[in-house]
């Protein structure tokens, strides 16, 4: 499903090139809950961005569903993100001018879905994340946990095969964060989706089927927690 083959990603910093990822090779199969951990600057977020087609590797290959991202043009990658991937970000990244329901529906609106079809997908998801009653609220009226649950619902609305979450509990208290991790775990277990979570949170390991540890842009360990 997701495969990294000797991937390097370099970023310019002044006159130098910094290797955010330095020869990472990794394969994540369908289904399951994979946790990616590591200290700050270890390349976790970079890994997720490359896995989601939000960026391209400097060298090596990132394969999504068997095809290298480098060989896809921007439209292909974009459509892949829209239809096959779901993203959950640390800072929620909700659109402030849209309501909860509209934020959740966003990928379907981009697809040009009919309002009845869109509503048919959004309503059950809002129920699932416990926010049906807040569907008309604006993001700034929600708590951090509520916002993150909206983000999870948005990540699921297009029925993706893969959900990528970048520090989903990073801005939440421990209890709320646990709730989000339980939700993501349910997504992996009940829906059979592939969930990859990048996190500092040690409690996330409890939910993981697989724990990958990065350090200085390389895989330090890879196994069951």
């Amino acid at each position: 499903m997701i495969e990294f083959r000797n991937v390097r990603k370099l970023y310019p910093q002044g006159t130098r090139q910094i290797a955010a990822l330095d020869g990472v090779s990794l394969k994540i199969d369908r289904g399951g809950f994979t946790c990616l951990t590591g200290p700050s600057g270890s390349g976790k977020s970079t890994f997720l961005h490359l896995a989601g087609g939000l960026d391209l590797p400097t060298s090596g290959e990132v394969l999504l569903e068997g095809t290298a991202t480098s060989s896809r043009n921007d439209d292909d990658l974009t459509l892949l993100r829209r239809r096959r991937l779901g993203f959950v970000f640390q800072f929620f990244n909700l659109i402030p001018s849209l309501s909860v329901a509209e934020n959740v529906a966003l990928p379907l609106l981009l697809e040009g879905g009919r309002p009845a079809d869109v509503e048919g997908r959004v309503a059950p998801l809002l129920e699932r994340v416990g926010l049906a009653a807040r569907r008309a609220s604006a993001p700034d009226e929600l708590s951090g946990g509520e916002m993150q649950r909206v983000a999870v619902a948005r990540a699921l609305v297009a029925d993706p095969a893969i959900v990528l979450a970048d520090e989903p509990t990073g801005n939440l208290d421990s209890a709320t964060g646990r709730g989000i991790l339980e939700l993501l775990h349910a997504v992996a277990r009940e829906d059979g989706r592939t969930v990859v979570v990048v996190t500092h949170d040690p409690s996330a390991a409890r939910f993981a089927d697989r724990l990958v540890r990065l350090r200085d842009g390389r895989v330090e360990s890879d196994g069951t927690p």
Partner: protein, 858 residues
């Protein structure tokens, strides 16, 4: 796409109304300036044609002497010999009715039975009674007025009316009322008709009319008919289309056309503002764009969204600008028509017309400007991968980007455009020089970002020393966003440069005209037949003999007379001043010959002028027609063509198409015209102007309507006329300055927004609200100061070079440069005021940010 537009663009606009309005307002203002000038130009031209058609009726041609002074009625039978041609003699004058405090009115002296074949006169009289009515109405003391004029002044058949004429004040009787048809529709009803013999007795002499109007035979082209009539009449006559534009009209129109140029510059300035607003808007919404892209929005979906947004804003701005421009056009048209009618009534503006091409063109231009301004930053945002966009919101640590490529391109622009202006200006087509100036403006806009980076770097230590950390942060922020800063300062600079250039040009013109009048007028009082405060060029005339009467008034030491004639010359109309040279120079010597007059106080020259060999021309005449001293010019006179030698060229601002001075006796003989326009008086020692004024008024009372002016009063009238002429360009400049102000305000608001986190961190580590406010204000002052400096330098340079050269090309006037120090001070003051005012709201917002919210802001 409609849904995305509604969810993103409309919601965002509602949440940030000020920013949305600022962007649209810039487009609106630029379009308003453009529309006002375009509408005024087309309205004045159209009004001229319509007025001519209403006055001309079926007539398409006019016949005059080739000299331009009327035509003799003897030519009539030869014109009528062309089968099917209809011809009618006309004497037409603009005059005043000082008793009614009305004027100017257009008076037609006609042969009714010929004229009615050309023009429609509706007296509401049955046809059978018409001959008897006309015999009465057009009797020697009769005059027919329009229904509207009669209604305004409570006149009816039998009422008295006093008309100001060269023969004196003529008491006439209203003998008929003309309904609003044909020529009676013009000038709000200020149109009157009298019999031709009556008009000739009052304004000229028997046998002479101003022109013979001709309707060509049915089916014959007017040009062909004109050629046949000209062949039949011979070279002593001129056959022209009826709708011929005068030099005064052309001058009024050229000023309106110049405003089009000003508005183009303002639109370019507006373009920079919009580009700035749009690029800031796009960057401000990078996070939204990043989220959309990460969720699967295609590049073209996002690009389309941004472009559609700004197309809509551009269209709305353009529509607002169209409405505002129409309102401004009405002011422009009134001023232009007044100016064009200053010699003779030629333009009756009844409605200000916004034509479909102008409306559609303005909407298109404004919308395209906004679209173009949005395209570049939007494409830039699309080039960055979504992951890059997600990380792009925090930029407080970003180093200043390099702008070297744009700097080099800008330098090429400046050097090339400068070479063009300096080397080839006089060979460029009209407005070519001004176009080159716009290129210099664009070049400066391209070099300014890199200059900003360098300047900010250099200024940081000094600003830190003077303003402490606040100055350092302000300079740092300016240097971090050089393109944004540069565009803002150049927009303000452009606006202020227009202000300074316009003021400099006006000051130069006033100073030159004032100095000229101070030296050229040796008299203490001048008698005119018209109130010059309402009509700058007096059409009124006095008989020659009146000067002799004035000489006998106690307190008058000497008198000389000046005749004024508008002479056709090379498709133009020049002003011919026929001066009693002996009287003039006697008066100059009595006063003390000035340096300016010394150059022409030459007995040999005077002798040649008295003999009719030499003339003196104005410098603008020399430049316009290429007639330096020594060259020969030919004028058509009543006595036939006559050649004169140009003896001297002198500085003179009497007439935009050029002025010629000749000896009055020569003019009287060759043009057979013994009327004078001005009688100039020198006071005897011991007499006061007030005493002599009242004695002269007493002498003229009841016989002539006359207005007496001292040289100081004439200078005041000229200055007021210049001020009025520039009033509307000042409105345009003011609008451009407002655009500059909006630019700085917009930039600062966005700057505060984008530095929210940085500001939060500063507050968290101990910066006070006052320090934050001061940082924003210093940034604003720096931008305004640079904008002001650019504006002042560019304004003076613009006045010194392209404006003066353009004036030389178009009018022949070479105006010595005058630095308008008071206006430079005003521009500097405006820059400071703008810097202060534009900073108030952003500084307040910055200082009131909640520290915790600001730190958490992404």
């Amino acid at each position: 796409m409609r849904r995305l537009l509604r969810l993103f663009s409309w919601r965002h606009a509602r949440r940030h109304p000020l920013r949305t309005v600022l962007g649209a307002a810039s487009v609106a203002l630029g379009v308003a300036l453009f529309v006002s000038a375009a509408v005024a130009n087309s309205t004045v031209l159209r009004a001229f044609e319509e007025t001519g058609e209403r006055l001309g009726g079926r007539a398409k041609l006019q016949v005059t002497f080739a000299s331009g002074t009327g035509v003799d009625e003897a030519a009539l039978p030869r014109i009528e010999a062309l089968p099917g041609a209809i011809a009618a003699p006309v004497l037409h004058r603009s005059t005043t009715l000082s008793d009614l405090k009305e004027g100017p009115v257009l008076v037609f002296g006609i042969d009714f039975w010929k004229d009615r074949q050309l023009r429609l006169y509706d007296f509401k009289i049955p046809s059978a009674e018409l001959p008897a009515f006309i015999a009465t109405a057009l009797r020697p003391d009769g005059i027919v007025v329009t229904r509207r004029f009669a209604g305004r002044h409570g006149l009816s058949p039998g009422s008295s009316l006093v008309l100001d004429t060269p023969r004196g004040r003529a008491k006439l009787t209203v003998t008929g009322i003309l309904e609003s048809e044909g020529p009676a529709q013009v000038f709000g009803g200020n149109f009157m008709v009298m019999g031709l013999p009556t008009a000739q007795a009052l304004f000229t002499k028997p046998g002479i009319v101003d022109r013979i109007d001709v309707a060509p035979p049915e089916g014959l082209d007017p040009d062909a008919a004109g050629a046949r009539i000209a062949a039949a009449l011979g070279p002593a006559y001129s056959v022209q289309p009826l709708l011929r534009r005068s030099a005064v009209l052309d001058d009024a129109l050229s000023r309106v056309r110049a405003l089009v140029v000003v508005s183009v510059v303002a639109l370019v300035v507006g373009l920079f503002i919009i580009y700035n607003s749009v690029s800031i808007s796009v960057v401000e919404r990078l996070r939204d764009i990043a989220i959309l892209r990460s969720l699967g929005a295609l590049r073209r979906q996002v690009l389309g969204l941004v472009l559609l947004e700004w197309t809509a804003l551009g269209f709305l701005g353009s529509a607002s600008g169209l409405a505002a421009g129409y309102g401004l056009a009405r002011l422009l048209v009134t001023a232009s028509a007044r100016s064009a009618n200053s010699l003779t009534l030629a333009i009756d503006v009844r409605e200000v017309v916004l034509t479909l091409p102008v409306a559609a063109g303005s909407l298109a231009v404004g919308t395209m400007v906004a679209l173009f301004a949005a395209l570049v930053p939007a494409l830039e945002a699309m080039r960055t991968p979504p992951a890059g966009l997600l990380g792009a919101s925090i930029e407080s640590s970003r180093a200043a980007p390099r702008q070297l490529r744009s700097f080099l391109v800008g330098m090429i622009f400046i050097v090339a455009a400068s070479a063009l202006v300096l080397g080839f200006y006089l060979r460029l087509p009209p407005y070519g020089g001004l176009a080159a100036t716009v290129f210099i403006f664009v070049g400066v806009a391209l070099v300014l970002p890199q200059l900003t980076v360098w300047a900010a770097r250099l200024a940081r230590p000094a600003l830190r020393r003077v303003f402490r950390i606040e100055g350092y942060l302000a300079a740092d922020n300016i240097g971090k966003f050089p393109r944004r800063t540069a565009l803002t300062t150049i927009a303000l600079g452009g606006a202020l440069s227009m202000m300074v250039a316009s003021a400099s040009f006006l000051a130069s013109l006033r100073r030159s005209a004032d100095a000229w009048m101070a030296e050229a007028f040796p008299f203490d009082l001048s008698i005119n037949g018209t109130d010059l405060t309402t009509q700058l060029y007096s059409p009124a005339r006095f008989p020659d003999a009146l000067a002799d009467e004035i000489r006998t008034v106690v307190g008058v030491a000497s008198v000389y007379t000046v005749a004024v004639h508008h002479q056709p010359f090379r498709d133009n109309e020049i002003m011919l001043l026929a001066v009693d040279l002996d009287g003039l120079f006697k008066m100059h010597r009595e006063r003390g010959i000035t340096d300016r007059m010394k150059a022409i106080d030459d007995p040999g020259l005077r002798e040649a002028m008295l003999a009719g060999r030499d003339i003196i021309v104005s410098e603008n005449f020399m430049h316009r027609y290429g007639t330096p001293p020594g060259s020969q010019v030919e004028f058509q006179t009543v006595e036939g063509p006559r050649t004169f030698r140009v003896a001297r060229a002198v500085e003179d601002y009497s007439w935009p198409a050029g002025m010629v001075v000749m000896e009055r006796a020569v003019y009287r003989k060759l043009w057979r015209d013994d009327l004078v326009a001005y009688i100039d008086i020198r006071l005897a020692p011991g007499s006061t102007p007030a005493e002599v004024r009242s004695r002269v008024a007493e002498t003229l009372k009841g016989n002539y309507t006359a207005f007496l002016y001292s040289p100081d009063e004439l200078r005041g009238i000229a200055a007021a006329a210049l001020d009025q002429a520039f009033q509307l360009s000042n409105v345009q400049v003011l609008i451009a300055v407002i655009i500059g102000f909006l630019g700085i305000l917009n930039t600062l608001l966005i700057s505060v927004l984008r530095r929210t986190r940085e500001i939060g961190l500063l507050r968290a580590v101990g910066a006070t609200r006052g320090q934050i406010r001061r940082t924003v204000m210093i940034e604003s002052f720096l931008m305004a100061a640079v904008g002001g400096a650019i504006g002042i330098l560019a304004g003076v340079a613009g006045a010194a070079f392209p404006l003066r050269l353009h004036t030389l090309q178009v009018t022949g006037y070479w105006i010595p440069l005058s630095i308008p120090w008071s206006w430079i001070g005003a521009a500097a003051g405006a820059a400071i005021a703008i810097g202060y005012l534009a900073s108030l709201l952003p500084a307040r917002r910055a200082s009131r940010l909640n520290v915790l919210d600001a730190i958490a802001y992404e």
